[in-house]
């Protein structure tokens, strides 16, 4: 199939349309704006609805309504806006409404900056809103994956009745790459007999609600949610493993950081250092087993993030006892260079020069 040169944000938006998304509501924020620009043209062409909402809270609640009415619905924002959506995300998770939320993340905390970051990992994977809930969190690493993982996100959302978050960043959103708009596997269809579409003479009333005043009922609801989450852990956890079999230094990175880490693996292999890369595709569920299984005796794990160290906590939990877990990260929109990571790897492989300790810490 021919490739189209697209921004990652546009690829995500086109993926949503091809996944059958017919409702988008969002609020302007850099660096996600192209998603709204694209869908304001594209959705009406497909009979879909585009709404520029008055706020992030309104946008996420419009998604709640549209998803509850049985539609495939998307909202997108960037870090500060995703913080504002957290109330709605908790309600969507509680009501088990399938939908997709994209975070084209930028540096924080606070208003932060508009440059790329991965410092929303905790918020995405541990639950930024209140209550015991999980989202499926997908981490694309290319414009192509901004497209294909968005299609997958809608299928997963419907299959499990769960909000799916795409954790991207300002680089992936803004950079242009060739994207093959491959429709396979394409949208799957699911019966939504729970949706509030009006009874229409077919059934009794459906209600979408999140209030359980009886604590026994609320606990039962939580037990039901947790059982669903366990099923997702068993069935949907995914990571890409590259050159892990003989690796002495095993890098763990997702998204744009994995692209840089991959280049560092290639360079260090040329230097004769046995390096490999584990790239989580699903950040929740986290590929703990893959990391545990790949770490051999004497393996050093090196986590690369555009943050002060967030995913590193999950890697540390996943690593076999005694396996050193090192971390190198940059924050605030700064992006580590390949050479910077190569230097860290050389140091870890005991052949290296002095490294700048301010960005690197041993976490074991």
């Amino acid at each position: 199939m021919p490739a189209n040169l697209m921004k990652g944000n546009e690829a995500l938006a086109e993926g949503a349309v091809r996944a059958g998304c017919r409702f988008f509501a969002g609020y302007p924020i850099t660096p996600q704006s192209e998603i709204a620009h694209y869908l304001s043209k594209r959705l009406p062409e497909t009979g879909g609805v585009f709404i520029q909402a008055e706020s992030e809270t309104a946008a996420i609640n419009m998604i709640y309504g549209a998803a509850g009415a049985g539609a495939r619905a998307l909202t997108a924002s960037s870090s500060p806006g995703i913080s504002l959506k957290q109330e709605g995300i908790s309600y969507l998770a509680a009501a088990e409404l399938p939908c997709v939320i994209a975070n084209i993340a930028r540096g924080g905390p606070g208003l932060g900056g508009i440059q790329p970051a991965q410092s929303d990992y905790f918020q995405a994977t541990k639950g930024g809103g209140h209550g015991d809930y999980r989202l499926i969190v997908l981490a694309p690493a290319s414009a192509q994956e901004m497209f294909s993982l968005t299609v997958r996100a809608f299928n997963l959302a419907d299959r499990y009745r769960i909000p799916v978050l795409i954790l991207s960043d300002g680089i992936l959103g803004q950079m242009m790459e060739p994207v093959v708009l491959d429709n396979s596997p394409g949208p799957e269809t699911f019966a939504k007999n729970w949706a509030t579409t009006g009874m229409m003479g077919q059934r009794g009333p459906n209600s979408i609600y999140t209030l359980y005043l009886d604590p026994e009922q609320l606990e039962r609801h939580n037990i039901h949610l947790q059982a669903k989450y366990r099923l997702i852990v068993q069935s949907e956890t995914e990571a890409v493993m590259e050159q892990v079999q003989d690796a002495d230094v095993l890098l763990v990175a997702y998204g744009i950081a994995a692209r840089i880490a991959k280049a560092a693996v290639k360079q260090t292999r040329r230097l004769g250092i046995k390096t490999g890369l584990i790239r989580p595709i699903t950040l929740w569920p986290f590929p703990s087993q893959a990391i545990f299984g790949a770490a051999r005796a004497n393996t050093r794990l090196l986590v690369i993030e555009l943050s002060a160290g967030q995913m590193v906590e999950d890697v540390r939990l996943a690593a076999p006892a005694g396996t050193p877990v090192h971390f190198h990260g940059r924050t605030g929109g700064m992006v580590p260079s390949v050479d910077e990571i190569v230097t860290v790897i050389r140091k870890l492989a005991d052949i290296g020069d002095d490294i700048d300790e301010s960005f690197t810490a041993v976490v074991d």
Partner: protein, 247 residues
Amino acid sequence: MSRLLRSLTDREFHYCPGCSHGVIHRLIAEVIDELDIQEKTIGVCPVGCAVMANEYFNFDTQQAAHGRAPAVATGIKRMLPDRVVFTYQGDGDLAAIGIGEFIHAVARSENLTTIFVNNAIYGMTGGQMAPTTLLGQQTATTPTGRSSKQAGFPLRIAEMAATISGAAYVTRVSVHSPGHIRAAKTAIRTGFQNQLDEKGYSLIEILAACPTNLGLSPADALAWVEQQMVPYFPLGEFSTTERMVQP
């Protein structure tokens, strides 16, 4: 049994004696039955005393987060434009935490109907000051009476909504007497009929009694609505600004 309504379940209301919610629920159910739209109606319930309205209405419902009902209803109605979608909201829900969602749903002229129950107090959380609490009114958080200097002025929502071009129908009614209840039902019917006629946003503000949190008997609470609320919140239909029709 001839007064049993299809659009209400047989659940007993949990509302306090003298509370207006039961009356207003019934008026809505009567209108939906009479318009024969039960099968295509989706109600959006608020956070507040009416949070469990989904258990009383015998049609599809969604329960929204506090104040977000107009945004939720927007999502439903845009995906299902041939269904009837309404929000049921109290004064804390609509006029405080949800004022943004409300104003902008009106501005977009969403083809929705909103039943706004104004009883000048937060009920479910224990009688705190609402955005519509009257000056001088004692509440759990204005123990010496609401002072404008300390807590500002009560919002007149219907008047505010009527200034927005997207508003198709704005009226304020009350349920403090049988005559006013009949007028309230007529207003509710107009609000739903407007939606069927695709006229845009309809707001029916209903002055209501909360005897428990006012510390009054049911009868005295109705008298309070008439004597204290109606002078500040005048009843009647508000002329809506000339609708601006653009491509």
